[in-house]
């Protein structure tokens, strides 16, 4: 991708977003509910898709207009910077669509991905189980071959936005119990299939962020296998490069946007000489360490390199940026998170509590350090 094309794309996109700003925003209550956020998200996705912006960086096979994945990162950055869509909902597409495109059959991809990109549907990711979190390869949700397909039985947990989703990328055990990485198969499952029930789980900030999902004799047609029987681990690993490129860039842009608000707050309060300017500086440099690192990663990916264990460093850096920022906000805005009730305070409280998940989701901080130690520092296997 030629650098000038990227600049031009950003400039034209920004101009379009400026011009259509009012119509891109649905009227919402002071404290938006998850339903409000979903409606706003779909509205923006649809508008971007119809205007073409939401189709760059995707192949023509899924209704895209082609171009580098960096174009998607730029769209994500502009959307986050303008507060046009809830960042968690937005990131699901960047994580899940590329994976289905990479491993799904051409027919499945052509039928399923366009509605997702248009914002018509939400998808979810059924990986974790009550007894299989960091040790994902021990998962036990079982898929058994039946006439014309598979029957799934078991339980998933921490399935983000399962209650809103129409499809799920589901990891199951098809090999012998104890077959670890080798005996896992991924499926593309319709969430309205008979036998699927769920219970939303409320997280600390009050949002119904994810669900426990139960599968009781759920039939999945044979053509919904993703990547082949026994290839589920490769499908799961395939998600990493996407999560850690465009989706991270989007998350980083959102954090920058929130940092802007923090700086504006501190500047407006005239708190220039209170001796805690270093908190702002630390938050900013932590954010920038991630941004410069992630920029290198985006360029490597766009240049055709495959991403691997080194992206665990990106993951650790963005989690540090997330938590350093909101810890700084808590100290620089005394009492706001704990006591205040206005909309801005609600945002800070919500974000502060949510930031604690940054070292847990997508592979915990400890798992990332294990990868860095094993793969990047070459310290040998753990016993």
């Amino acid at each position: 991708m030629i650098q000038s094309d990227v600049h031009e794309f950003r400039r034209d996109l920004a101009a379009w977003l400026d011009e259509h700003d009012a119509e891109l925003r649905l009227p919402i209550e002071q404290h938006p509910t998850l339903d409000d956020e979903l409606a706003q998200f779909r509205h923006v996705k649809r508008a971007l898709f119809d205007a073409g912006w939401g189709r760059y960086g995707w192949s023509s096979a899924v209704g895209g207009l082609a171009g580098s994945s960096m174009l998607r990162a730029i769209v994500g950055e502009e959307i986050a910077t303008r507060d046009l869509a809830e960042p968690g909902l937005w990131s699901m597409i960047e994580v899940l669509a590329p994976t289905v495109i990479a491993v799904g059959s051409p027919e499945l991809v052509a039928a399923m991905v366009p509605p997702f990109l248009r914002g018509d549907e939400m998808w979810c990711q059924g990986f974790s189980e009550p007894d299989s979190g960091s040790d994902l390869a021990s998962l036990s949700c079982r898929a058994t071959a039946v006439d014309g397909g598979w029957s799934v039985n078991g339980q998933k947990v921490w399935t983000s936005f399962a209650q809103l989703a129409t499809r799920c990328i589901l990891l199951t055990r098809t090999g012998e119990p104890g077959s670890a990485h080798r005996g896992i198969t991924a499926f593309f499952v319709d969430m309205d299939s008979p036998g699927i029930t769920y219970r939303p789980i409320e997280i600390q900030n009050g949002r119904l962020e994810f669900c426990e999902v139960f599968y009781d004799d759920v039939f999945v047609p044979a053509d919904r296998v993703l990547g082949g029987v026994g290839q589920g681990w490769q499908v799961a690993m395939n998600i990493l490069p996407y999560e850690r490129s465009t989706a991270f860039w989007h998350r980083g842009a959102f954090l920058h946007h929130r940092f802007d608000a923090l700086v504006a707050n501190v500047a407006a309060a005239g708190r220039r000489d209170t001796g805690d300017a270093h908190l702002l500086g630390e938050a900013f440099q932590t954010l920038m360490a991630f941004r410069f690192r992630s920029r290198e990663t985006q360029h490597r990916l766009a240049g055709g390199e495959s991403l691997g264990a080194e992206t665990s460093i990106d993951k650790i850096l963005i989690a540090a940026a997330d938590q350093t920022l909101y810890n700084a906000a808590r100290d620089l805005l005394p009492g706001v998170i704990e006591f205040d009730t206005d909309t801005a305070a609600g945002h800070w409280r919500w974000d502060y509590l949510y930031s604690k998940a940054a070292t847990i989701y997508g592979g915990t901080a400890e798992i990332q350090r294990n990868i860095v130690a094993r793969r990047l520092l070459d310290l040998g296997a753990e016993p």
Partner: protein, 324 residues
């Protein structure tokens, strides 16, 4: 900008010169002989990045920071130019003018021992900057060794009467001095940090306790992983600052992050090296002391975040600094 292949060749000859000559004066002479001065003039930030990375890897006593400052000021780059650096942890000029006297509180390199005159940057009520050359004997620091294992930096404290000083004509500004120095020092800190991490990594693989290498214990692995992440985060910012139009804020962050990475790496590496890392039998202490000294130059990991915070509050906004 200099071609990458040429830069790689220069890096090899600079590293060789540093490795060959142990004393500061000899190393300075050797570097200038292989074209360090010309490199610096042609590519002030990019050239310094290469030289300071080599400085970090080799532990050389070469006083090339004086050259970086001289070049930023538009003064001739020569191995006998010695500049007084800011006081530990500070980015302001070492001199403060008070009537007819300049009070000096800064640091000088070993070059002062071979220079007749030293350049004192000074400020006037924190506003106007000036540069004077004074007789080195007026500031010659005590011969007591500092912590610096390269015996490079010492305190320089004193008072100089303006009558005894000669004005130095400069074409550069103090802001450019600070930016270029911070970018260069960031590369040095990152390189020394990599050396410390490798020492600890090697030790963790070789040292056997409870019948297995200590590298197999998660508590040890995570300390080393922590160090690598800090180093790579700082390195990404430092690598972005190679062009001559590098934003001063990027250079400041590179130095701040590199200082923080050096502190984190030193602490984690020392804990992993345990008993042997506490001795002078093992070379770790040289790197540790070196990073402690370099961290204080032109603002430290302790002082720079506050400086960055003040800049952001004054602007009322946070720049993105780099785009995809």
């Amino acid at each position: 900008m200099i071609d990458a292949d040429d830069l790689a060749l220069l890096a090899v000859s600079l590293t060789a010169a540093m490795a060959r000559e142990s004393g500061a004066a000899a190393a300075d002479a050797a570097l200038h002989a292989v074209g360090w001065g010309e490199l610096l003039v042609a590519a002030p930030i990019q050239g310094a990045a290469v030289a300071f990375a080599a400085l970090g890897r080799t532990g050389s006593a070469a006083c090339v920071l004086d050259d970086v400052v001289a070049n930023a000021l538009g003064v001739d780059v020569r191995p006998d130019v010695c500049v007084v650096m800011p006081a530990p942890g500070r980015g302001a000029p070492a001199g403060t003018r008070d009537g007819s006297v300049i009070r000096v509180d800064g640091l000088v390199s070993a070059r002062i021992d071979n220079s007749e005159r030293v350049v004192v940057p000074f400020e006037d009520d924190g506003r106007e900057f000036g540069f004077v050359a004074v007789d080195a004997t007026l500031l010659r620091p005590p011969p007591l060794p500092s912590l610096d294992p390269a015996r490079q930096y010492r305190r320089a404290v004193g008072e100089v009467r303006l009558d005894d000083a000669r004005v130095v004509e400069v074409t550069g500004t103090w802001e450019v001095v600070v930016r270029n120095a911070r970018a260069a020092l960031a590369h040095q800190l990152i390189a020394i940090s990599r050396v410390m991490l490798e020492m600890a990594r090697r030790h963790a693989l070789d040292r056997v306790q409870f019948g297995r290498p200590v590298a197999s214990f998660q508590a040890v692995r995570h300390k080393l992983a922590e160090a690598l992440v800090a180093i790579e985060g700082a390195a990404s910012v430092a690598h972005a600052c190679v062009a001559d139009d590098c934003d001063a804020l990027v250079a400041t962050m590179a130095k701040s992050l590199a200082g923080a990475a050096a502190r984190s790496t030193a602490a984690n590496a020392q804990q992993v090296l345990a008993g042997i890392g506490f001795t002078t039998d093992h070379p770790f202490h040289l790197s540790l002391k070196r990073t402690m000294v370099i961290d204080t130059l032109f603002g430290s990991a302790r002082t720079l975040p506050a400086e960055i915070g003040h800049i952001l509050v004054a602007r009322g906004a946070a720049p993105r600094l780099v785009e995809l």
